[in-house]
Symmetry: C2
Subunit: 240 residues, 2 copies
């Protein structure tokens, strides 16, 4: 040991002063979850490339190296974030429309009822599930519009649920052609993800008359708008 190394102290250097700042009452798997939460928040706001591992680590209150320890590459972290809530979300939607179909007397199902059952879960999670779910909604909205991997990612996680919806819609609109149903759903999909993104655009456009965050109202409008749209597009003889 050189003189320089020991400068200022004749004892060994003071041991690391315990863990620094951030209080970490780390329970089991809590670090992992806090990294996912931070990543979800940041990715939803700035996209995949707009976020650095270091920012995620800082917001989670953990060390940069830990992010790699838990998730490996950055892209794997993104996928883990996307996957975490997709299952909850979709299972709930499928359960809701299945329940509606089961509990409604034959011939009394309505488009409005079906769409309401299908759309309510994401709206409710976004409204009452805490900030994580709001971030997730925004992440889905951005991903749906992403030309690079949006189509593929959305299809992988969400299409099974949507196919089931379309199956049930076909019972309500028995004369509808397959193509009509898909194009109609496509219109609904755009409306849904834009709304869940809550970008604040509608607030500006309407001069404050409508609020993006008013998802209760948004859902009501969407059900009526889309139900009418489906009917118009799927009516026999309506297509060109």
């Amino acid at each position: 040991m050189s003189i320089k190394d020991a400068a200022g102290s004749d004892e060994a250097r003071p041991a690391r002063r315990g863990r620094p700042p951030k209080a970490k009452a780390a329970g089991i798997g809590e670090t992992r979850e806090s990294i996912l939460d931070a990543a979800e928040d940041l990715f939803s706001k700035h996209g995949f490339y707009g976020v650095t591992i270091r920012e995620v680590a800082r917001e989670a209150g953990v060390d940069t190296a830990l992010v790699h320890y838990y998730f490996g590459a950055k892209r794997a972290l993104f996928d883990a974030v996307f996957l975490r809530r997709a299952e909850v979300w979709n299972n709930e939607r499928v359960d809701a429309i299945n329940r509606y179909a089961r509990e409604t007397p034959q011939g009394e199902m309505t488009l409005e009822g079906l769409l309401d059952a299908f759309l309510r879960p994401p709206f409710q999670w976004s409204l009452k599930g805490g900030p994580g779910w709001k971030h997730y909604s925004a992440l889905v909205a951005q991903t749906n519009a992403n030309p690079a991997f949006g189509g593929e990612t959305m299809a992988r996680y969400f299409d099974p649920a949507i196919r089931r919806l379309i199956e049930l819609i076909r019972q309500v609109l028995p004369d509808a052609r397959e193509v009509d149903l898909y194009w109609a759903y496509h219109n609904l999909s755009g409306a849904l993800t834009l709304t869940l993104g809550e970008t604040g655009r509608l607030d500006r456009l309407s001069g404050g008359l409508c609020r993006s965050g008013d998802l209760e109202t948004a859902g009501d409008y969407m059900v009526r708008f889309a139900a009418a749209g489906f009917r118009a597009v799927c009516a026999p003889g309506a297509s060109g």
Copy 2:
């Protein structure tokens, strides 16, 4: 001139050997445009943070430093890309609906006619304007879904045109409430930008039955879907 400067030649040093590789028949402002084209392409695919100045320069076939020479900071380049076609696009839409309103006899305007006039320009540019316009459409789609600056950016460039559309729709649906019109438009906006993004999602969902790129068909469906949606949502006594 020092001896060193003249080393290897007793004449003046050979002049720069002409411009290297890339054939550049650079007309006036052509370099600038090629940078914009390259940036538009890349930004539309990977977003602002997913693109580097170096990639833009490489795709444009120019030097990295030139990008800064023409546009300054990276963000200014993005704005220049976004601005370039916004005016064309919007002026055309406003002209189209104004013309429709002017040339249609009093009381014979329809929602379908109005929406068709409004939606056709972006669809037509995307279909027939060349790759640049397709990239631009995808860029707008992504921006509309962007929580960080999407609401603000879209509002700045596109809201005046939309306000004019809503004004004219009010003539067709005179009993509609202001809020109903805005919420209805919000649903249409989501459908429109998702469709123009052509992410390929519909292709997968429908198992190839529908093609994202078939914008002619997409536009027809959208007009009918949205017109019915507006009517349902704006009908007197329809709201909650």
